[in-house]
């Protein structure tokens, strides 16, 4: 338990450092764009411009802005106002987009795990069989086909040719199926390959022979002695997988017109909404840090030889 606490504190420290770096770089870039954010827009009446300048704290010297903004984030969790979405604060956008993206990501990940692990286990146990061959071919395809290509294909197949699912939108279960599938497919493919390789590796270890020599059934050996060890590479992959899912949700939210963080982020980027984009980058950093920490901890839970660092 002491390990865990120390680990959590250290990780938190690194996260703050990382966030600070991201914040500083973003801030410098944001403020080094010549002119003020509204100069390129239609002419704004002076009264409104004054109001806007006050809202974005543009009258303060840059250093002052830097600290005010940072203090706002740290003390109130306030990421400021969007530059382009009128009368929306970054927090509001996040609050709207986050649940949508999170559920999409969770559906995608759960789907990937539920599909990838059994596929990997079966191909390892029935190595060389037709099932193994076809599943591993599918896995290579899943890795090579980018998810936006996959998305286009499934839209062609299941929206236009066989109208089983709606093309876009958010809210019903039917609308989640296709994007979650496209999001999870590459991850599932990786997980299946990692599981299979891990299983084969553990199966060749001597302690598995010991387990058989103890008279355990095949099933018990696979489930109790092989699978946990085979899961280690899969667990360490879940960190990158989360990053992949977050990235993938950018395109999929765009293709399927889902109002999540990804769509907002892309719009922010396309419309040069710096405050929104920065708030999103910071949020994504925190998410990734959290996920990586969870992965580290679960790794240490599974493998007692690993010490959290």
């Amino acid at each position: 338990m002491r390990h865990l606490l120390g680990y959590a504190i250290r990780r938190f420290g690194w996260m703050l450092l990382t966030l600070w770096i991201v914040y500083t770089v973003s801030f410098v870039l944001m403020r080094s764009v010549p002119g003020n954010p509204f100069s390129s827009e239609r002419t704004v009446p002076p009264a409104i411009e004054r109001q806007l300048r006050a809202r974005y704290n543009l009258d303060a010297p840059p250093i002052r802005q830097y600290f005010d903004y940072a203090i706002g984030i740290v003390t109130r969790g306030d990421l400021g106002w969007c530059l382009r979405l009128e009368d929306y604060s970054v927090n509001q956008v996040l609050a709207e987009g986050f649940p949508v993206s999170a559920s999409l990501a969770i559906f995608g990940l759960v789907f990937a795990i539920a599909l990838g692990i059994p596929a990997g286990v079966i191909s390892a146990v029935r190595r060389g069989s037709l099932a193994d061959l076809s599943m591993m071919t599918a896995a290579v395809l899943g890795i090579a086909v980018p998810n936006f290509v996959l998305a286009s294909i499934v839209i062609l197949l299941f929206v236009f040719m066989l109208p089983l699912f709606p093309a876009a939108g958010w809210g019903t279960l039917a609308q989640i199926v296709l994007p979650a599938f496209c999001l999870g497919a590459p991850v599932a493919a990786y997980i299946a390959r990692l599981t299979r390789a891990g299983m084969l590796e553990v199966l060749s270890r001597e302690h598995v022979r010991t387990a058989y020599a103890k008279g355990l059934s095949n099933r018990a050996v696979i489930l109790k002695h092989v699978l946990p060890g085979a899961m280690l590479p899969v667990v360490s992959y879940l960190g990158p997988a989360t990053a992949g899912v977050l990235t993938g949700s950018l395109v999929l939210e765009k293709i399927f017109a889902i109002p999540g963080m990804g769509s907002h982020f892309i719009n922010a980027a396309l419309q040069r909404d710096y405050t929104l984009a920065m708030g999103m980058v910071l949020t994504y950093t925190v998410l990734l840090f959290l996920m990586n920490s969870i992965v580290d901890i679960s790794y240490a839970v599974i493998d007692p030889r690993v010490k959290l660092q």
Binding site: R205, E206, H207, R209, T210, A211, Y212, A213, K214, G215, L216, S217, N218, A220, K224, H225, P228, G229, I302, D303, P304, R305
Partner: protein, 347 residues
Amino acid sequence: MTEPNPSAPLLSVRDLHVSFQTDDGLIEAVRGVSFDLARGETLGIVGESGSGKSVTNLALMGVIPTPPGRIDQGKANFDGHDLLAMSQSRLMAIRGRRIGMIFQDPMTALNPLMTIGQQLTEVTRRHLGLSPTAADRRAAEMLEMVGISSPGERLGDYPHEFSGGMRQRVMIAMALSCEPDILIADEPTTALDVTIQAQILELLAELQQRRGTSIILVTHDLGVVAGVCDRVLVMYAGRVVEQATVGDLFAAHRHPYTLGLLQSLPRLDRDQSTRLDAIAGQPPDMARIPSGCSFRPRCPVAMERCETDSPPLRELGPGHASACWHDDAAAAKRAAANADSPSEADR
């Protein structure tokens, strides 16, 4: 335990053949091995790596990975049943329950992700149907028996928290926790320090005396054989080339390979200036076993006949057999020597 016929061997292996399909072609790892194991006996199996000694035992336990491995033919009669013809589920009831096995490398033979306690109780709960608490108690007893201090606390430890010798003790405890009739020990001391080796061997000998377990001890170390075994099989290239009691093996060995093994043993009583005589040449490539006697390319006394015919394992005396064409000549010579000086031959 009462046995209808105490003189019948507990385990009787006949003409065992095991092969592996590899990239280099079919490898016949075991080519017609036969032996008996009596109740309470310690049988040593010696030979170089690749001689088929481990494969023989893995085949008996039914843990040869198939494919690429395959048991081509043979019988292994254990307590009235053929181990090699048994269904997996029946074999499972015997493995760990009536035949225990310990492996060469205790560093890798234990599951690193499970506590010692979990691994120990797994066997007794499966075979003896013990409750979790009873299994824990039993596990602690077993650890105590193999000489691990404060066993109750150590049940929750993971293998990496034990030293090599301690892990081998755990392995022994695990293999013996259902009080099996046979313990197969596959090079149990090879991976250990010399001092630890002695402790482990002592432990095995002591446990055997206490429980009357039969032991098959696979090793390439003749010193170990001398210390622990009653009888010895010498294997070469998948065959038994000599079979003898420990006394005969050291005093009246017959096969040139056995002689080679004995000569390559460092000895304190030998002249320090003479070099150790390693057996010339390499162990055979199992994918291309020489015709005739497989030891011929390395044999200092090979004859013409050795090139064409493979010598069978022939009884030379009670409990002593060897597979060498020279035995014919030797038998003749001995007969002549007997006639000359009967007193010497009586010995």
